[in-house]
């Protein structure tokens, strides 16, 4: 019997498999950041252990960092302390740090791929649930807790139960104005915020194949929003072209050898998945969320489902979400006024996202009622945007290109959405209070967010392009 892509990579990394125990899985690359690592470094100190393979560990500061004036000391004391602690810990344990001021600094899931650290066939972990992003390259990548960060530090391994596998195929052509973000919001709306729990998802089909690496990263990034710990896409020429020549990508003979292996990384025709779902790209319209989990999404022209259309036991939670958002059962979101637009996060802050937004807003003006924050995913994205004049296009439209970090995706820095305000956000979570206490988040694609920025309201992007 053939193997799925997940099985091929997983089995190649099992150090030990024993009946009744989880597998000891070897981890090729460990990414770390300032929020989920300090207690793990502390644990090592208490045990008197080193980081076993510091050269396979890479650190950056992203969650807490300001997105303005990064050359100045961080104002907020606790944030500064946590970022300083990362500098101290990485120096003490010999781990490479791309910290504030470094040309490679950025959101951990943006810098891994752009530096060529993320490669097909690897196992990669990070104390961050959006580590699934790296699966876009055909890698097994997943988020872990801090105790597991300590495990990987100490052993370069994790104790893991082999996951179940799910294949999600999306076939057909996407309509103009519909992109990767809409695909993934559509899938999550269809299968719910828990529909993928227990699985690693392999995305396949012609609509997935036709996406750029940036689009594929957007898809894999949000796997966790349906509960799936990992999501991945078999590598192909698009993948190889993206990786080739990047700083830490294999070179010369090593490249040829790697490529030969990478070309074997696909699910065999007779491989058996534990679940298979299929969707038609033609059914997908620009998506937007109306509730407080990413499964609460609708096509932009659809109406908010009524509470009574929900299963009875779920109605109180559903009603709570609709009330939190200040919406009514059955209403349309089109025309709703927007207060903030956030374009950024590990879901949508790559150069392609900024190019798409720039192409749309060029020659247009920001609506007066809206505050717009555009936060690039990394220093390299920021530099590229400036080189292409994208920052000037934004300036003329009335927005500023800020400096890289996680920013308003989770509001650990100053970039918080005020209570009661509506934010159209290209990030990944619309949980209560995610972007600030009592903030109201509506998740959407970069294009839909850009449309909200220039019109000041929720609009169907297809009417504007």
């Amino acid at each position: 019997m053939g193997k799925t892509l997940v099985e091929k990579i997983w089995d190649a990394h099992v150090v030990k498999r024993e009946e009744g125990f989880p597998d000891i899985l070897y981890i090729d690359t460990h990414l770390i950041h300032e929020v989920t690592s300090p207690q793990a470094f502390d644990g090592l100190r208490k045990r008197g252990l080193p980081v076993l393979r510091p050269s396979q560990t890479v650190a950056t500061a992203d969650h807490n960092v300001p997105t303005l004036n990064q050359h100045l000391p961080i104002k907020e004391e606790l944030s500064r302390y946590q970022v300083d602690m990362l500098t101290k810990n990485t120096a003490e344990f010999g781990v490479e740090l791309y910290g504030l001021g470094h040309p490679y600094q950025g959101i951990v899931h943006v810098i891994g791929p752009e530096l060529g650290i993320t490669q097909p066939g690897k196992t990669m972990v990070c104390g961050d649930s959006h580590t699934s992003t790296h699966g876009a390259f055909g890698a097994i990548a997943f988020g872990i807790g801090t105790s597991q960060v300590e495990q990987v530090f100490a052993t370069q391994c994790l104790l893991q139960q082999k996951p179940k596998t799910m294949k999600i195929e999306v076939n057909g052509e996407l309509a103009a104005g519909v992109g990767a973000k809409d695909i993934i919001l559509y899938i999550i709306a269809k299968i719910s915020a828990a529909g993928g729990t227990g699985y690693f998802v392999e995305y396949a089909g012609s609509a997935i194949r036709s996406l750029s690496m940036e689009g594929r990263m957007t898809i894999c990034n949000m796997s966790i929003e349906m509960g799936a710990r990992g999501g991945l896409i078999a590598p192909d020429q698009t993948t190889f072209d993206y990786v080739e020549g990047r700083e830490f990508a294999p070179k010369g003979e090593e490249w040829d050898k790697a490529l030969q292996y990478w070309k074997t990384l696909y699910s065999d025709d007779d491989a058996i998945f534990d679940a298979v779902l299929e969707f038609d790209a033609a059914d997908i319209q620009p998506m937007i969320t109306y509730g407080t989990n990413p499964g609460m999404g609708i096509g932009i022209t659809e109406h908010i489902p009524t509470t009574n259309s929900q299963p009875e036991s779920e109605r109180p939670s559903y009603q709570k979400a609709i009330d939190y958002m200040g919406f009514q059962d059955g209403e349309s979101v089109i025309g709703k006024a927007v207060d903030y637009v956030f374009i950024g996060s590990c879901t949508n802050s790559r150069i392609e996202d900024l190019r798409e937004v720039a192409a749309f807003v060029q020659g247009k003006q920001k609506a007066e009622n809206v505050e717009v924050w555009i936060v690039p995913g990394s220093k390299q994205v920021e530099a590229q945007a400036k080189e292409e004049g994208i920052d000037k296009i934004f300036e003329q439209a009335g927005f500023a290109l800020r400096e890289p970090g996680c920013s308003a995706c989770l509001g650990m820095n100053e970039d918080k959405i005020p209570a009661g305000k509506y934010c159209v956000s290209t990030s990944n979570r619309n949980f209560e209070g995610r972007q600030g206490p009592n903030a109201r988040t509506m998740l959407a694609s970069p294009l839909t967010a850009a449309a909200a920025a220039v019109t000041g309201k929720i609009v169907d992007i297809r009417q504007l392009i």
């Binding site: 070897y26 649930s129 872990i144 052993t155 391994c157 104790l159 939670s317 979570r429 995610r434 206490p437």
Partner: protein, 194 residues
């Protein structure tokens, strides 16, 4: 790690679905660099208003309900991988969380901190809620060795599943690092043979 064997306790019922880790511990409280003290901010924005005054209608501010067992609606712990969520639950004083469905990462984090996540069928979960809301002093008994959870008042019992390795870790207070480190030779061999 703290050992866990048996427990009989009153419960704190939270019949809300999809409780995400941002509700359990909002991101702005993740700036600590130790594992201690997160319990004060457990369910912060549901427990306290903008002026830091307790919200009287939230169950944890209702003295009628207390205990070491938190019972919550399905898909508990979805969202971020922050282990701070498990730390907050433990620090507040919960040893067991019961739900009809758990998010993967939360479940693992809880187990790694000596907090037992017990998955029960939706029907059993609803039974717990109805018994506890009718009589807040009624208790649940959890026996990890026997893998049972019992509603003491009605005698209804459910046999829950747990990975045998994780079960022995909880009972003995072991953690994964000790286990993996005992295989260091195999790890080095694996690296050599790649």
């Amino acid at each position: 790690m703290k050992k866990f064997e048996k427990l009989t306790s009153q419960v704190v019922p939270l019949p809300i679905e999809n409780i995400d880790t941002d509700q359990i511990i909002p991101a702005r409280f993740l700036k600590a660099t130790t594992r201690d003290g997160f319990g004060d901010n457990l369910f912060r924005d549901w427990r306290y208003d903008a002026d830091n005054q307790p919200k009287v209608d939230f169950v944890m501010n209702n003295p009628t309900f207390s205990g070491k067992v938190l019972v919550a609606g399905k898909n508990f712990g979805c969202g971020s991988s922050r282990e701070h969520a498990a730390w907050a639950i433990q620090d507040y004083g919960f040893d067991v969380v019961i739900s009809s469905f758990f998010a993967d990462i939360f479940k693992g984090n809880a187990l790694n901190n000596g907090v037992l996540p017990i998955q029960v069928p939706e029907e059993f979960l609803q039974k717990i809620f109805s018994v506890v809301f009718a009589n807040p002093t009624s208790s649940l008994s959890v026996d990890l060795e026997a893998q049972t959870v019992t509603i003491d008042e009605t005698g209804d019992s459910y046999s829950f599943e747990i990975n045998p390795y994780k079960k022995s870790c909880l009972i003995n207070g072991y953690d994964d690092i000790d286990f993996i480190l005992s295989h260091k030779r195999q790890i080095e061999e694996f690296e050599k043979n790649r």
